[in-house]
């Protein structure tokens, strides 16, 4: 969430208004006093107090606690029995869902897990008053998929280089295409771009023009 400027007759009143507008106590945001304000005589010559406030990023424990609660609730409502493992050492914080028969949560090309992650992020953002980075995985599926896509990208780049022709990959989701683009971003001999629309969008690897 962005900065907010608040004017009131005193700094204290401005702080109270900030607490109300942000929906959080003053220890959870950063305060910069721009003007202390002056009371003036009979309301003449007075100056308003102005403060600038900015919410602090929530503590890591808050994010884990809230995200875990939201995820547990959603899994429960979906009728899925699973356990959530929190990997706090990963960036962003990763929530790995573990259990049997979780293919239904992955979906075609991982679309369902992407939707679940998006909904969790939306709810967590509403609770913590700001967008929080987090990653949801299922039994390490996305992690494995990421490394196999990276390997595929490097392997195909080699082929593009040797055969000197474009190679088009199968359709992928935005986050999967991003893995391919990033894996080859620094590659000295190939470039990547995407073609097609919607569900049919795919990455093309081409030789770099020299």
């Amino acid at each position: 969430m962005d900065e907010l400027e608040i004017a009131a007759s005193t700094v204290e009143e401005a702080l109270e208004e900030a607490e109300e507008r942000l929906g959080m106590k003053r220890d959870r945001f950063e305060v910069e006093v721009i003007s202390e304000g002056k009371s003036g005589i009979l309301g003449i010559g007075g100056e308003e107090a102005v403060i600038k406030v900015k919410p602090l990023p929530p503590a890591e424990e808050d994010l884990v606690k809230v995200a875990r609660e939201v995820l547990d609730k959603l899994l429960n409502l979906l009728g899925v029995t699973a356990e959530v493992e929190v990997l706090s050492d990963q960036i962003p914080t990763t929530f790995n869902i573990k259990g049997d028969d979780l293919g239904i949560l992955i979906g075609r090309h991982g679309q369902t897990i992407v939707s679940l992650e998006y909904i969790v992020k939306l709810i967590v953002a509403a609770r913590l008053k700001g967008w929080q980075p987090l990653f949801i995985d299922i039994g390490g599926y996305r992690e494995r998929r990421r490394s196999s896509l990276q390997q595929l990208a490097l392997h195909l780049a080699e082929q593009v280089k040797l055969e000197h022709r474009d190679i088009t990959l199968e359709p992928m989701s935005a986050s999967e295409r991003r893995i391919i683009h990033l894996a080859l971003a620094e590659h000295p001999e190939v470039v990547t771009h995407s073609i097609g629309v919607g569900e049919d969008r795919k990455v093309v690897i081409s030789p770099k023009q020299s």
Partner: protein, 75 residues
Amino acid sequence: MKELVEYIVKSIVAEPDNITITEENSDEGLLIKLEVADEDKGRVIGRGGRVAEAIRTLLRVKAAKDNTRVRLQIM
């Protein structure tokens, strides 16, 4: 099914007390109708319909588990 939509929608709108969700059974499965305050419409639909699409994706998971079909209509 309704509980799932209710939990998600109530958590992301500005006026959680101002939502109505009804369920109708038809030959094509379950039809869920969702009504929210005007100012919350954008929040449940999202840019390019992204939020609504994500809610529908999760509903399909639940429907598949229950062996039925479901549609979500935002009024």
